[in-house]
């Protein structure tokens, strides 16, 4: 049980895919203009990661080493297609705002990275926990950045207005440069926070 907890928290904090490993950054930067988008993207990615980790953990012994990567990508692409069709059917608005980044989950290096580094070498149970930990860590980072950008850039949070109608907001945070700057500031903030916590111990 301890091992499971260890795997779970590793994905969430110590090896957070976004802030520590810098994996899957394209969707992180692109869709985080509002908290709803960030959450939607995070959950969609978590679903794909969970699906691919489960299948790969079960099938890894049957896959020859030489065609490993193409097989992993096919498994991932299958789950991405499922998510794509589900989002199109149940939430056309989310589909509209995430746009091309839903099919692009397939090339999220975090998912292939977990398949290669974890799921193909570990059992089903640990792979599920790893997928949930990593997926939630990814979602958490997306939420953090998208709330930061939505509050500063549009003055709303989850589309609920925080400031008056005619208050001016820092528009640049809703635009591409704000994504880079926001992520840079968040990583720097986490770095210094981590250092402070380390000093106390």
């Amino acid at each position: 049980m301890n091992e499971a907890l260890n795997i779970f928290t590793r994905g969430f904090v110590r090896e957070n895919p976004v802030t520590k490993m810098l994996l899957g950054l394209c969707p992180v930067l692109a869709v985080t203009t509002s908290a709803v988008n960030g959450l939607g993207m995070g959950l969609a990615t978590t679903f794909v990661l969970l699906g691919s980790n489960v299948v790969i953990a079960l099938a890894s012994k049957a896959i020859p080493n030489t065609v490993r990567i193409p097989s992993f990508i096919l498994v991932i692409a299958t789950f991405v297609t499922i998510v794509d069709l589900l989002i199109q059917a149940f939430s056309p608005e989310l589909n509209q705002s995430l746009g091309i980044f839903i099919p692009l989950i397939v090339v999220n290096c975090m998912i292939l990275g977990r398949a290669e580094a974890f799921a193909s070498r570990n059992g089903l149970w640990y792979s599920i926990i790893d997928a949930i930990g990593m997926g939630l860590g990814f979602t958490f980072a997306l939420l953090l950045l998208s709330i930061f950008r939505e509050v500063l850039g549009s003055g709303t949070i989850f589309n609920i207005p925080l400031v008056g109608e005619d208050a001016s907001t820092i528009l640049v945070f809703a635009l591409p440069p704000g994504a880079f700057a926001g992520l840079g500031l968040i990583i720097a903030g986490l770095n210094s926070l981590e250092k402070k916590m380390g000093d106390k111990k």
Binding site: L25, C26, L29, P70, D84, V106, V107, P176, F180, A188
Partner: protein, 195 residues
């Protein structure tokens, strides 16, 4: 004449206005990964150009030749990623034979081109925008040029940043993002060029 000016618009838009890295956020991983040195950045850029142009061309043909007639457009993602993965293998084999030094320096990033979202992204955008075959190929090639421009600019800045005295929490990655933000801000100045 109309056709040529249309193509020109696509070219300017692909390089500057909708730059793959700064405006569309595609290919961020190699952008951060191989931009430490100018020459590796250039090598990566050429590999991406080659794969991106050919993948978009093949993707276009397969999309309109197979997926549309059979009404199985939902298979698009799976098919495109297969095309890209096999192309990358081809580039790897060719590069290994032709230039050992380039192969060594690009090393682990070549297989990573498969998961370079810029390539799949550009191929998908070309289909989404209903470009003709010629426009798609031109669009893909010049998007790759935009990628090279971004990665070269950034590699130049990063070589200087190595020697700069950066506040501790901002060392390495965060300062890279802040510089990227300033670059992206500069690229936004082009946005009036093409409507």
């Amino acid at each position: 004449m109309n056709e040529i000016s249309g193509l020109l618009l696509v070219i300017v838009s692909a390089i500057f206005v909708n730059n793959v890295v700064f405006a569309r956020f595609l290919g961020i991983c190699p952008y951060l990964g191989v931009s430490r040195k100018l020459d590796t950045a250039l090598g990566m850029g050429f590999a991406v150009t080659f794969v991106m142009t050919i993948a978009t061309a093949i993707g276009y043909v397969l999309h309109y030749g197979i997926l549309v007639p059979f009404k199985i457009e939902f298979m698009q993602t799976i098919m495109f990623i297969l095309v890209i993965a096999s192309l990358v293998q081809l580039v790897e084999i060719v590069l290994k034979k032709v230039s050992k030094s380039l192969y060594n320096s690009l090393g682990i990033f070549l297989p990573l081109i498969t998961t370079n979202c810029a390539i799949l992204g550009v191929a998908l955008i070309a289909i989404q925008e209903d470009y003709s075959f010629v426009t798609s190929v031109v669009f893909a090639f010049f998007s790759a040029m935009g990628f090279i421009l971004a990665i070269l600019l950034f590699a130049g800045i990063r070589e200087k940043l190595e020697e700069a005295d950066v506040p501790k929490p901002f060392k390495n990655v965060p300062i890279g993002f802040i510089s990227a933000a300033i670059l992206s801000l500069a690229f936004m100045g082009f946005s009036g060029l093409v409507k």
